[in-house]
């Protein structure tokens, strides 16, 4: 598909038009951070903000959502599936954030399909924005199968050009969405080049397996605070807790909430037994999950898209890139 051109002002008009039929989720500035939010007007979108501080994960796997609603009836109670939202457009997502959805698809769309994730995913069209303004601190997308201008995981890819964006329609879903966009021929306009992001060495799963007993994990964990920031800011950390909540009006909901393997009690069972009582074990669990267990279970790819958020947001500089280097070095 040849690329088209969308003028800067027209992009905003188009996005405003989409709001009539879709929830439009885009990066916006909020409280000093750049986060994805459902917007009310296109001029809220922070096109120039670089990588958002948090991923768009919550629009597919909300931080907290009802997965069962218990309804009281004449003959007792009935368990119901709550209503799921309307079609949404993820606008201005970077290639790594789109890649993250493909990575989570492997788990949540695998049998048994997760109804909630699948619904949101099916109802979402992704309009990505190439990282011609990147890379940023910590970025290593090319190490784990992504790239700053990767088009495989989006439905439409926007690439900045003078006066607007080059628009590349990747999927049928994308084609349907841009039917309403005032597109022009790209002509001689040259899209801005994507930056080089040199891939880091990534050890094969077997190397990770052989590093399971390393004292290294305890060394790294010595400075880990167990604050969980790395898991909450991660676009593919998906582990969840399930809890019941009784509402003021007597109704009962069963909630699914993000959880973090870095919390001390994540693996503790009733009665107090905890198979991973040390931070070293929990830290090892996180990286083994990402680079050994998930690839082994879900078809080869890491549970990581190299967005670098955990690198820049960790308060004590636990750096996944150093861990990758250590395992790769030890494997040689």
């Amino acid at each position: 598909m040849s690329e088209r051109f969308l003028q800067a002002g027209r992009l905003a008009e188009w996005a405003n038009g989409l709001l009539a039929t879709h929830q439009v989720v885009a990066p916006v500035r909020r409280g000093g951070q750049v986060v994805f939010r459902a917007i009310a007007r296109a001029d809220e979108i922070a096109w120039d903000a670089g990588r958002a501080d948090l991923p768009a994960k919550e629009f597919f796997l909300p931080a907290s959502e009802a997965i069962v609603a218990w309804q009281t009836t004449d003959d007792g109670v009935r368990a119901e599936t709550p209503f799921l939202g309307r079609p949404q457009v993820l606008l201005g997502a970077r290639p790594c954030d789109a890649h993250a959805l493909e990575v989570m698809d492997r788990l949540f769309l695998d049998d048994p399909v997760d109804l909630y994730y699948a619904e949101r995913r099916a109802k979402t069209t992704i309009v990505g924005l190439a990282c011609t303004d990147g890379p940023w601190d910590g970025c290593f997308c090319t190490t784990v199968g992504g790239g700053p201008a990767e088009r495989r995981h989006v439905d439409v890819l926007l690439t900045p050009v003078d006066g607007g964006h080059a628009l590349d329609v990747v999927s049928e879903k994308g084609r349907a969405l841009v039917a309403s966009a005032p597109l022009e021929d790209l002509g001689a306009r040259a899209p801005k080049p994507a930056p080089d992001v040199a891939p880091l060495p990534l050890a094969a799963p077997g190397a990770w397996r052989s590093r399971f007993e390393d004292a290294y994990w305890a060394e790294v964990a010595e400075r880990c605070l167990g604050c969980r920031t790395c898991t909450y800011d991660c676009p593919v950390c998906y582990c969840f807790d399930v809890r019941d909540r009784r509402l003021a009006d007597g109704r009962v909901e069963r909630l699914r909430c993000w959880d973090s393997c870095q919390g001390a009690l994540c693996f503790a069972i009733a009665g107090g037994h905890n198979p991973r009582p040390t931070q070293a074990q929990r830290l090892r669990q996180r990286f083994m999950h990402k680079f050994l267990y998930y690839p082994a279970r879900e078809g080869g790819a890491a549970l990581c898209v190299g967005c670098g958020r955990c690198v820049v947001q960790c308060p004590v500089n636990v750096d996944v890139r150093e861990i990758l280097a250590h395992v790769a070095e030890a494997a040689r």
Partner: protein, 278 residues
Amino acid sequence: MSATLDNAFLPHLARLTEVRDLATGIKLFRCQPLESHVRFRYAPGQFGFLSAIGVGEAPFGMAVSESRGGGQVEFAVQRIGTVTDALHEMQTGDLVGVRGPMGRGFPLEELRGKRIVILGGGIGLAPLRPLVQEILDHRDDYGELTIFCAGRSPDLLVFREEYEEWAAAPRTVVHVTVDKADGSWAGRVGLITQALAEISPSPEGAVAVTCGPPIMIKFVLKELERLGFAPGQVVTTLEAKMKCGLGKCGRCNVGDQYVCTDGPVFRYDQIQRFLEAF
């Protein structure tokens, strides 16, 4: 919403048809699904989630074999946390939620024709009970059966009233031991590992199946190894924190194996490399 997708998180509603004390702090819950078309089909060793509606749900091993359950399922529940507290307050006639069956049960194909050693500690005997029932109901399919039932004290032994029936079956021996006796106890006193060492079942053509608290499993595995049981001859059923039972919530793994979907039953050689639990 897509009509084609089932919501795997939706429990079946069930009525408690029996709630009885099994041991101090342990009750047995027998559940009859409300909808007549709901029939739980499962193998010994599989598990389900039991919901105290409005409080939460937790996983428990199926405690009765499908054929002996007659369309109802049973769970043995120790009062030990928020959900189990709520369950213990319930009465016959109350409504609960049941999801399941989940996981993989005991490898009956591998057990057939073998001599079987079953070792259950405390409430750990509950998920082994359907296996005992399966073997007794198809007694000719299995070799000699040796069952070790252990508890910290006599009042913590579960299914005590059934040991006699088990021991009365052909080629079946039941050894009962308690860590600490009370005034009423005339039986064996000592850890399950001591009983195991003393009886010393031969590993020749045998498979050992164990379930109990982690500390017990740890030392039972060591004792079985000492007796000559290879890791491939030892089967254990594991407990882990799990929230979905579907391989999604990401917390019950032992290495790249999920207790919920690959287990809870494992041969020791499948998991020994990554065991952190002990």
